[in-house]
């Protein structure tokens, strides 16, 4: 990539520095000593729990390499970090697809790409249905309702639809409205902020070095640039990714590290749910213990960030694993269904939070 004014280095998984658009701050993770799996738990306690400093790339990698025997202690530390820097509250969100399918991009995990033979058909949701869904989401106690469209970026028609949808929801439902509409330019970012969008989601999806294996129709750098634009407007940035897409542990650590560098307000953590007809449709489901190690690693890489359970947790973790993750660093959930797949009954999640004595974050605490 060509160097640009106001760019800084982001370390890739080989320890090389490459030029990407970012804030002019050096990566604090680039000069660390490799940490063994044996002593990483001690380091995590002293560095993250006591001092509030996120793990470096090498340390994240050491966490991902811990043994199953260390998992219980690892999750306990991650939970302590979450409680100390985020508190016991859990942020609850519902998501909905405004425009489903027919996407021109080729994200290999996604059933909504028009480039694959997925059975998902293209369809738009009307505004009365959006408002109804927002009301039902609010009834669960959720404070966030995210409207998602399967697009490269929003065109004028989609922006108009969003304007009408946000106005209709805000006129009748007391809930924060978030959006996920792909890549944005500066005018679109400002337009969405002016509409009253509380948080904008745009995932990095994968660590930079693995991203070309996941998407070929746009670049990791384009995603990074949209994320940086969002941060300039006052909208909160929601940016995460998927694990279990065939990436190495190094590339998994790279994603967590790059998210730590980006400092989003929220990180949604997805576990690949292999979708029929997509290039990743035949990949195996990630083992539950690997998923739990990821949760702890992301928490320790992002001690002050909302870490949300997103897609794939039901398949990857099941009921017991879901509970373990909530006691291992997770402090936000998507309740109910996802965009093209189904989730747990919201009542089950809410009952679990009640049992764990984790109150739902109040709407008034989200501003």
């Amino acid at each position: 990539m060509t160097a640009q004014p106001g760019v800084d280095g982001i370390r890739n998984n080989r320890g090389m520095t490459e030029q990407v658009a970012t804030q002019p701050t050096a990566s604090p993770t680039s000069a660390t000593t490799p940490t063994s799996a044996a002593d990483i738990l001690t380091v995590a306690r002293e560095q993250v729990l006591e001092r509030g400093e996120r793990l470096t790339y090498d340390q994240i990698l050491a966490v991902l390499r811990t043994s199953d025997e260390q998992l219980e202690e690892l999750l306990a530390i991650a939970h302590e970090v979450r409680m100390r820097y985020q508190g016991p509250d859990v942020e609850v969100e519902g998501i909905i697809s405004l425009k489903t399918g027919g996407c021109p991009e080729d994200c290999h995990f996604c059933a909504q790409s028009g480039q694959f033979t997925s059975p998902v058909r293209s369809v738009w949701l009307n505004i009365p249905e959006l408002v109804r869904a927002a009301k039902l989401t609010r009834d669960t106690g959720a404070s966030e309702f995210c409207i998602v469209a399967a697009v490269r970026g929003p065109d004028a028609k989609l922006m108009e639809q969003m304007r009408a949808a946000v106005a209709a929801i805000k006129g009748s439902v007391d809930i924060n409205v978030a959006a996920s509409l792909g890549m944005l330019d500066a005018d679109q970012v400002q337009d969405l902020a002016n509409m009253g969008i509380h948080r904008y989601n745009h995932n990095l999806e994968a660590g930079r070095s693995y991203f070309p294996n996941v998407v070929t129709t746009h670049t990791w750098e384009e995603r990074w640039e949209t994320c940086q634009l969002v941060k300039t407007t006052g909208m909160e940035l929601c940016c995460g990714g998927l694990v279990g897409m065939g990436e190495s542990l190094e590339q998994r650590a790279e994603l967590a590290d790059q998210l730590g560098e980006l400092e989003p307000h929220e990180v949604p953590l997805n576990f690949l749910n292999p979708r029929p007809g997509t290039p990743f449709g035949d990949l195996p489901v990630m083992p539950a213990n690997d998923a739990l190690r990821c949760i702890a690693a992301f928490r320790l890489a992002l001690p002050r960030t909302i870490l949300r359970y997103a897609g794939g947790r039901e398949l990857t973790l099941g009921d017991l694993g879901t509970r373990d993750g909530l006691l291992g660093g997770i402090n936000a959930v998507i309740v109910g269904n996802y965009l093209t797949t189904l989730g747990r009954d919201p009542k089950e999640d809410l009952a679990l939070l009640d049992e764990l004595k984790m109150p739902i974050k109040a709407l008034s605490d989200t501003f």
Binding site: I96, L125, T137, N273, P276, G336, N337, Y338
Partner: protein, 77 residues
């Protein structure tokens, strides 16, 4: 586990024909399990891809020939 009508001809997940054992056959074991966390995508009677809309609390799947299926009419086994 999800149930579908006994007179279904096609698997609502993969769209392939169902044999005499229906979706209970071993050939569709993966589909049967997956349908706990997925709405149907193919009409079980004509194999048309259905228009599926999912909200946080429910879903609908509509075949232009055979009409609409909802979460409540789909029903558990």
């Amino acid at each position: 586990m999800t149930s579908i009508s006994v007179d279904a001809v096609f698997c609502p997940r993969c769209g392939r024909p169902l044999g005499p054992a229906g979706i209970a056959s071993g050939e569709h074991a993966v589909c049967r399990r997956a349908l706990d966390l997925e709405p149907p995508r193919y009409c079980a009677y004509c194999r048309r891809r259905m228009i599926v809309q999912i909200t946080p609390s429910d879903w609908t799947a509509r075949c232009i020939e055979h009409g609409e299926t909802t979460e409540s009419t789909w029903g558990p086994a």
